[in-house]
């Protein structure tokens, strides 16, 4: 059986310009449908990431209605930062089951311009247990810092190695015309930045930006009607791990990408060595290192030294977060998918991966809580 495919992609600027989350999602969806070269009337499924910034009981339903659609399938995703990749998994499944023909999925936020930084940080604290974790003065960076500190203890990972992740991604962002942070950033500058929650400095933390992005997926039978060659969804997996920081069965330095990654690779029939580049959820620098190790790109404790050696940089063995990621491009997680599509189409706006055929995208929600891995290819490997 052939795979579902991504045939349209759009990444909007990181400035909402006063628009609501719904307007941003509608704009992104229309642009992605135009990118696909399909008519709006062909869309029969709508998915969207829940907008906690402007709470909406039925966000994707409102989006479908706003676009004037009467779809056969609607889904609002509320999996935190894993939502974009999880929507791709759900869209691919719905297409494979024949429940719809063309899915548009969108993610949008006006958290920087609408809510503002302080309110956004407060809003993101919603992930914490409100009675037992929030009163301790814990924040999301604090909880990721607990994983980082344990990684330092267990594997000798250094602040310099963490900083190398931020510096490497900034180098990618400096090549991308629409990245939010384009000024080159050295390891020394990351180390000299104020500590937020040790061992993480301000530069180990992702940006708080607005964003809007969308993808269009369709079934193999319809890819020929799209404007551009398809990017096939050849494997998907997900894992749901604790949100509570105190869950007794959590190994602090190994979180869940192992489960979702293995599922995705098994589904694709590929191995980790077949992956040409990776776009990995990067809420913090430590998130990237642990995810690389969990996915099996290297052994435990090796990701830090590899980052420092430039393995994940432009021209490295495994390019990672080739638009600068959430640390430097913009936040949200949708951009990881859109960048992977751009690389596989051979038309990235910034750094170019050398003739890629397979890319891996990993999304994370909560504090390493929800995990989704998708494997994308410009060849339908599962049909071979």
């Amino acid at each position: 059986m052939s795979s579902p495919a991504i045939v349209g992609a759009y990444d909007g600027t990181a400035d909402a310009g006063g628009a609501s989350c719904l307007e941003l999602a509608a704009d992104a969806a229309l642009c992605a449908i135009a990118d696909a070269g399909l008519g709006l009337d062909t869309v029969d499924a709508v998915m969207a990431v829940h907008s906690w910034e402007e709470p909406s009981m039925m966000f994707a339903s409102h989006l479908a209605d706003y676009l004037g659609l009467r779809p056969s399938l609607v889904e609002t995703a509320a999996f935190g930062g894993a939502s974009p990749v999880m929507m791709v998994g759900r869209a691919a499944q719905a297409l494979s089951e024949g429940r719809c023909d063309v899915v548009v999925l969108a993610a949008s936020s006006n958290r920087a311009s609408g809510l503002g930084r302080d309110a956004a940080i407060r809003g993101l604290r919603d992930v914490l247990d409100p009675e037992f974790e929030a009163p301790t003065g814990a924040f999301i960076p604090t909880l990721y810092a607990l994983a980082a500190q344990r990684h330092v203890h267990d594997y000798g990972t250094t602040r310099e190695q963490l900083a190398a992740v931020a510096a490497t991604q900034r180098a990618y962002a400096s090549l991308h015309p629409s990245a939010v942070q384009r000024t080159p950033l050295s390891i020394e500058e990351v180390l000299a930045a104020p500590i937020v929650s040790s061992p993480l400095s301000v530069r180990d933390c992702c940006l708080i930006t607005d964003f809007r992005g969308a993808l269009v997926l369709t079934r193999a039978e319809h890819v020929a009607s799209a404007r551009l060659p398809p990017v096939w969804v050849v494997g998907y997996g997900e894992a749901h791990r604790p949100i509570t920081a105190t869950a007794p069965d959590v190994e602090l330095t190994s979180r869940g990408a192992q489960i979702s990654g293995t599922q995705a690779l098994t589904a694709s029939g590929l191995t980790i060595d077949d992956i040409d580049f990776a776009e990995l959820y990067d809420s913090f620098t430590i998130t990237v290192l642990i995810t690389l190790e969990d996915l099996g790109f290297c052994r435990r404790g090796e990701a830090g030294p590899l980052a420092l050696d430039g393995a994940f940089a432009v021209g490295g063995e495994l390019p990672v977060n080739t638009n600068g990621g959430m640390l430097s491009y913009r936040t949200g997680g949708m951009s990881h998918l859109i960048e992977a599509v751009a690389q596989l189409r051979g038309s990235p706006a910034g750094a170019r991966v050398e003739s890629p055929s397979v890319g891996l995208v990993h999304g994370i929600g909560g504090v390493f809580s929800t995990h989704a891995t998708v494997i994308l290819s410009n060849e339908d490997v599962s049909a071979c």
Partner: protein
């Protein structure tokens, strides 16, 4: 001020024994009457076996630091006077984990593997369970 965070916390019926216990300088967690395991945070049912027969239980309050972080930057304005503060993730002797402030004369030096014991910090009308390094 952390006091505001404690005062403005969510409140639940199953959580009340934890806060009541703290006023009596006891670390009160929750034990399952069916499987005997402790859990935290408290819930309406056991997170290990699903039994509804969960009861408050006084924990030893002794454990080991499995990770920590020093928060140096006030991420919300009301914490401007509170930084820096140290948070520890503690594995108690009863195989249950607690996230809490580490207290001491100043922000103490702490390492993973350090042994800690529960202490209690008065915050307005409430008492917050915290941990301190064990001196031995």
């Amino acid at each position: 001020m952390l006091e505001a965070l404690v005062r403005n916390r969510a409140r639940s019926a199953v959580g009340e024994p934890y806060w009541d216990g703290a006023r009596l300088r006891q670390l009160v967690l929750q034990r399952c009457g069916a499987c005997g395991k402790l859990q935290h945070p408290p819930r309406i049912a056991c997170g290990h076996c699903g039994s509804r027969s969960v009861e408050p239980a006084i924990a030893s309050g002794r454990g080991e630091v499995i990770s920590y972080t020093v928060v140096e930057r006030a991420l919300i304005p009301e914490l401007r006077d509170a930084v820096p503060y140290t948070l520890v993730l503690v594995a108690l002797e009863e195989d249950v984990r607690v996230l809490a402030l580490l207290t001491g004369p100043r922000v103490p030096e702490v390492s993973i593997g350090d042994r800690v014991e529960v202490d209690f910090l008065s915050m307005g009308q409430d008492v917050l369970p915290v941990f301190r390094l064990r001196s031995e």
